[in-house]
Amino acid sequence: MPEQPILHSLWIVPLLPLLGSAVNGLFGAKWPNKYVTATAITSTGLSFLFALEAVREFFGSGQALFRKEFFTWIAAGNFRAGFDLQMDQLTVVMVLVVTGVGWLIHIYATGYMAHEGGYYRFFSYLNLFMFFMLILVLAANYVLLFVGWEGVGLSSYLLIGFWFLKKSASDAGKKAFIVNRIGDFGFMLGMFLLFRAFGTLDFQTLFTKVGAWQPDAMGRFGTLTIACLLLFMGATGKSAQLPLYVWLPDAMEGPTPVSALIHAATMVTAGVYVVARSHILFTYSPTAMLVVAIVGCTTAFFAATIGLVQTDIKKVLAYSTVSQLGYMFLACGVGAFTAGIFHLMTHAFFKALLFLAAGSVIHAMGGEQEMPKMGGLGKKIRWTSYTMLIATLAIAGIPPFAGFFSKDAILFASFQSETGGRILHGFGLLTALLTAFYMFRLIFLTFSGKPRFDEKKVHVHESPWSMLGPLVVLAILSVIGGWFALPTFFQGPDYFANFLAPVFGGAHEAAQAATEAATHQLELLLAGVAFGTALIGIAIAYWVYLRNPRKPDDLARSMKPAYTLLLNKYYVDELYAAAVVRPLLWLSTNVFWKAADVAGIDGTVNGIAHGAAAIGDGVRHSQSGNTRSYAVWVVAGAIVVLAVIFFWPGATKTIWGLVR
């Protein structure tokens, strides 16, 4: 019995949800819902508790990094991939977020899904997701991380397509998986390259080995740069960045708790996590960093613009998620990994809350998701509306809500970064403005104003406490979640940064240095600017949607092309369909299969066969049955034999003998 029992059997943390999933999957079909609920909640809850205990022990042990190899999973030649788990501060954040938020959402789901068919299936999938997500964040090497990576993809596939009777749902699930696969393609190649370069994929050894290298200069595509970019390709897939973000909006086909857990709080942040986890590699490659920053920034802005006009409440949230993830990458890209993770955490809180609240709204509306058909719900479902309002304030970046601090940290860091900092910062602000605008648009459209639905048909009702409870908890978190960074505004330390310092050592130092360099005023100024923009955004939203509700349609009419463009999400899906999907299908069907395979290769083979048959028929017809012809054949044969014997090369002498 070691002094840290749980820490030394860390596997139990992921294993519990797996057990829950297996139990529910195998036996749940015949069980009443309450057993299923019990299994699911207890398994995830326990795993949360164990996680807490493990964290406690980890800090108790006081070591920078806890790492343990449980068993070898793949071994070939000098390659070894083990079932190795590790724990450090970064892991702590992730694990707690995953298990904690996950658990809350489980509880929420018990209420939300209560009347759905396939209840057991749902929770089995959800637990499975928890398992893979925990593997992802606990993994001590890239291969095991990849297990979680693919696994969460799978579970998201399953959960998005949970209502498999709906074609749109199963389509969305398939799309999610395949798009992720495209990212994974890059991720795998990245791993291969790393292994080729360093001969290992263990975080510890690999990162120490990197230390021996000198960084790739800006614009130089050395091993590290390529490796980072490949890894980042995976990240774009998983975290829905340009150009692979397309699956996330569709993913809203899944039940809302799923959207909250997977497509807001946890899975989609995996990409950010990976980048943060491999920050050493990235810091060694400014090029890659820049790429990350640009992609993040662009995505943030791009998604925000789309979010402006979406009418489906979940779609709006989806695009805002994409946009927020963009922020996180922006943070990583400018070297402020701490800020990135910080935002990741706060985002997990308020975005989960947003989704859950939205779910509660939908629940209240009896499945209605179109905001134009809502309105005036504020009075009817107070808890929901207030919690959602908190979350909105948080995401809009209104102090003292959590979002403000994290977003501010990011904007500040981007402003600081020497490569194109101003531009990045500018776009960041703009995005903040848009975010504030469309989020309050959502709020106003949903909760205030006149009801735009038939009150007789729809009986709006507040959700059960099993759903509201999590909302409240998350609301609290969304408020206080950012206060770690509060002291920085009074020259105090950034607790969160210090906490993560052991992990982001180098990078953090850099950030610190920057902070020192930057005058404190500047920081305050920037914070103020950010706050201002947020307010402006809110103001516009208020002006447009509450003061004069005609306005939106006028605007839409006045700038029709832009509006339609945004409404159709820049036609990216259509573009992909036209440029990739359909050509590929056409090619495979008509060229590869019908033409090359059937006609070409098989045709040739059969052609040979038929040719042989034809010749055979010829031979057959030489059998005229007429003795005289046969005699001629014999004579012909005689001549052949004579000719061969006399005139074949080697017998030429005799020819001359004849003619002479």
Binding site: A612, G618, R620, V641, L642
Partner: protein, 489 residues
Amino acid sequence: MFPQAIDLQRVLPELIWCGFGVLVMLLQPFVRSRQFFTFVALLGSLAGTVAAFTSFVHGGPGFFGLVQSDAFSFFFRLLVGTVSFLVVLAAGPYLDREKLPIAEFYALLFFATAGMGVLASAQELLTGFIGLEMSSISSYVLAGYRRDSLKSSESAMKYFLLGSFATAFFLYGIALVYGATGTTLLGKMAEANVATTGTLLKLGLAMILIGLGFKVAAAPFQVWTPDVYEGAPTPVTALLSAGPKAAAFALLLRIFATVPAATQYWFWAFWLLAALTMFAGNLGALVQTNIKRLLAYSSIAHAGYILVAFAAVTSMAQGGSAEAAPAYAAVLFYLLSYALVKLGAFTIVSQLGGFGEKNLSLDDYAGLSQRQPFVAAMLSIYLLSLLGLPVTAGFFGKFYIFKAAVNSHLISLAVLMAINSVIGAYYYLRVIVVMYMREPSAEAAAAGPVAFPLAVNAVLLVTFVGTILFGVYPNPVINFILRPDLLGH
């Protein structure tokens, strides 16, 4: 006193066979019982076969070197003896079914066998010629044995006309060789000075090759084969495909084993004949729907394979006969395996043919595996052996020929042979497919299984066991035919 006993002993099998032939003829007017004749015939062919042993034990040249009783002739005597024995077994029921006179058949069979024996042991061209004629003329008659069948008589006519046509070539060849070398003794020919008499000898040998090429149905002399095989009574077809062919090959082999000039001149001819014959046989068989005809074509193809080995022999024999030993072995073993298989297959065909040989088309074999599983299995085994699949004698036969060909660097020929065996696979499979993968026709199912009398089953058993045995354990045969004194020196 001449001839000495030893001379007689060295041709004992032939004497016995001829003797039995005469005996049967003499008994024919007095005995009515058909079984009796069958018994005598079995006895005779067996006796001759056994006698082959004694004449092998007291081996050596006989009649001033006209004949040579050695391992080689022993092997072929044994082969033709067994063949005739099996043919007797198979023919008995057939003749009863077709209501054909039996004694004459056996007598002719005996003389034919004797002729083959002579061919196998002849060491002198004219003796060989006589042997050839004995076997040929008797087979002409046998081919036309079903007198009132148009097909049978026609096949007899074609066989006879073309056969004697080819014989004339053969004979002319002998004459020219005689003129060139002043002798017809193969042994003496070896000493003949090729340089002075080159052209004439070459022409003579070419003519001989033509004559024998006809007998072994090498393309383009193969034209007669399908017609004759189809028309002749099936047991006779079995005999034709197994016996005379083997005997003719024996003479061919002996000639250029002993006459260096032949080895020297014949190589390319064999190369070409082999290629042509393989393709003619296999391609022709592709489109056949009459099983007898199909097998006829396949036997052409197999003649082609054997000729490949001949080409190998010729190209190896440059380096002395010892070099060529494996190739000889290949030829001999192939002839053995082939004879067994063809006998078995044709026996089944003759039995399934029914009265007047009506059911010969592939369609009559549809779903045979369900009507008569064992017969179908047997036939499939034979076909697979012809195809050259493992654990059948045919596999080793083909393997040895490939080996011979590759040994003598005839890669091109080997590849051609490979291609051909694939083509061959197609039509052999076709028969198997029909038997196993198609449902029997209504009337066939109604007719029920054809009875297989004991004698026929005996034939099948022998051929089957032989095929499998030599397919798993060819050692005894191989060891025997690989002996250095195969050709008695």
